[in-house]
């Protein structure tokens, strides 16, 4: 198993948020600020890591006919454990993310990775796949969160103290002072429009890269021509 491949798939080629389009509900709902996005992204990454590892460890004695309920049980246990830990150590952030933490259970990306990858691979690659997929989701969340926060309020990392305590105050950036507020970006339609823009941007990057590659392959290099 090629670990580099797993990373590229998780972060870019099969990015959950921008390519596979799984887990859109939390992606759209919690991406109104960067801090919310980071909080939910980290919780999702942790869930993916733990559930992939557990599914991979149990893959030999989980019979095919009960594997789906078993995955659901594993994922639900992991999410509940993370919820309790957050409640104990990141209480303020927990109050902000609220309902979306238990809803990680229903993020199809997690059961998708359990079924498509973890149940067929050894624990180490499975754990790395969980990490890579989770970080890919985190990246998409943060990109969308930054886009919406910047357009909607002209700030970045507002309320960062929820994540980093007092040190977070310094992180808070007012990029556009006196921003009048652009409501559309903060409301749900802004999430859809922003996601559309991000997907378009990613596709454009991809198309440009393959065009460049095609030119390199087709055009004979000067040395060879000479």
């Amino acid at each position: 198993m090629n670990y580099g491949q797993i990373w590229i798939d998780g972060l870019w080629r099969q990015n959950t948020g921008l390519v596979v389009l799984l887990g859109l509900c939390p992606l759209l709902a919690v991406s109104n600020t960067v801090v919310n996005a980071v909080g939910l992204g980290l919780a999702t990454t942790l869930t993916l890591l733990a559930s992939n590892l557990a599914v991979s460890l149990a893959r030999h004695w989980l019979r095919p006919e009960i594997r789906i309920p078993a995955y659901v049980l594993i994922i639900a246990s992991v999410v509940t454990a993370i919820q309790l830990l957050m409640q104990a150590w990141f209480h303020d952030l927990y109050r902000v993310l609220g309902i979306f933490i238990p809803l990680i259970v229903t993020n199809c990306a997690i059961i998708g990775r359990a079924e498509a990858f973890a149940s067929r691979n050894r624990p180490l690659p499975a754990a790395i796949d969980g990490l890579a997929t989770g970080l890919g989701f985190l990246l998409a969340l943060v990109a969308l969160g930054a886009l919406r926060e910047l357009a909607g309020r002209g700030t970045l990392f507002s309320q960062a103290r929820l994540l980093f305590g007092e040190a977070g105050e310094a992180l808070q950036l007012t990029v556009v002072p006196g921003h009048p507020g652009f409501l559309l970006a903060l409301l749900p339609p802004g999430a859809f429009i922003g996601l559309g823009l991000l997907i378009a941007g990613r596709n454009w990057l991809n198309a440009r890269r393959s065009a460049v590659q095609a030119i390199r392959v087709n055009a004979p290099s000067p040395e060879r021509a000479a």
Binding site: L73, V78, L84, Q87, H91, L183
Partner: protein, 216 residues
Amino acid sequence: MNGRRHSLLRSAASLGLVALAGTTLLAGVHRLTADRIAEQERRAMLSQLSEIVPTERYDNDLRDDRFTFRDEQHFPGGQTVTAYRARLDGRPVAVILRFAAPDGYNGPIGLLAGIDADGRLAGVRVTAHRETPGLGDGIEIEKSDWIRGFERKSLNSPPPAGWQVKRDGGEFDQFTGATITPRAIVEAVQRALQYYESHREALFATPRAATERPAK
């Protein structure tokens, strides 16, 4: 037949084992975190309450000196109100009511209102709301100082006609594009003050954590 039953049993057993492992994990994490979560919740509540009535003004445990009641006339919408009493040397200092304005633009708006023993508002805070971001969310202390406009106000200052938003001829500002939200809060706070005036003695005399409404 026997083989099928055997494989059925094996499936059931392994599913049961997964459930058992999950339960064990959760029981462990719960034991590990229960005390800390309870502590965090108390801390969060105290910091909320002390924004309204500073801790140096009283010497009892505000969080435990509380009771709940219902009163459809002053707190409509079938809600349960919690009253926290602040006392110094056993004398009433203030009462903090946790209630909701039922008629916000997007559903109820959770409120905390502190009323000093002399009937003046110590302060009001919004604890939960779903008002429109950018329009109605100026009620949050983080977004604007609007909610501080209630401080030191009482039932007769401004006079009853002033207990309205400016658009309705009263003294309280509304937000551009959002009148319903401030109107709901102004009316809810006024009703809370009216309740305080008619139930002042009972509010401080009701034993803690009793569920009945205070006697008239």
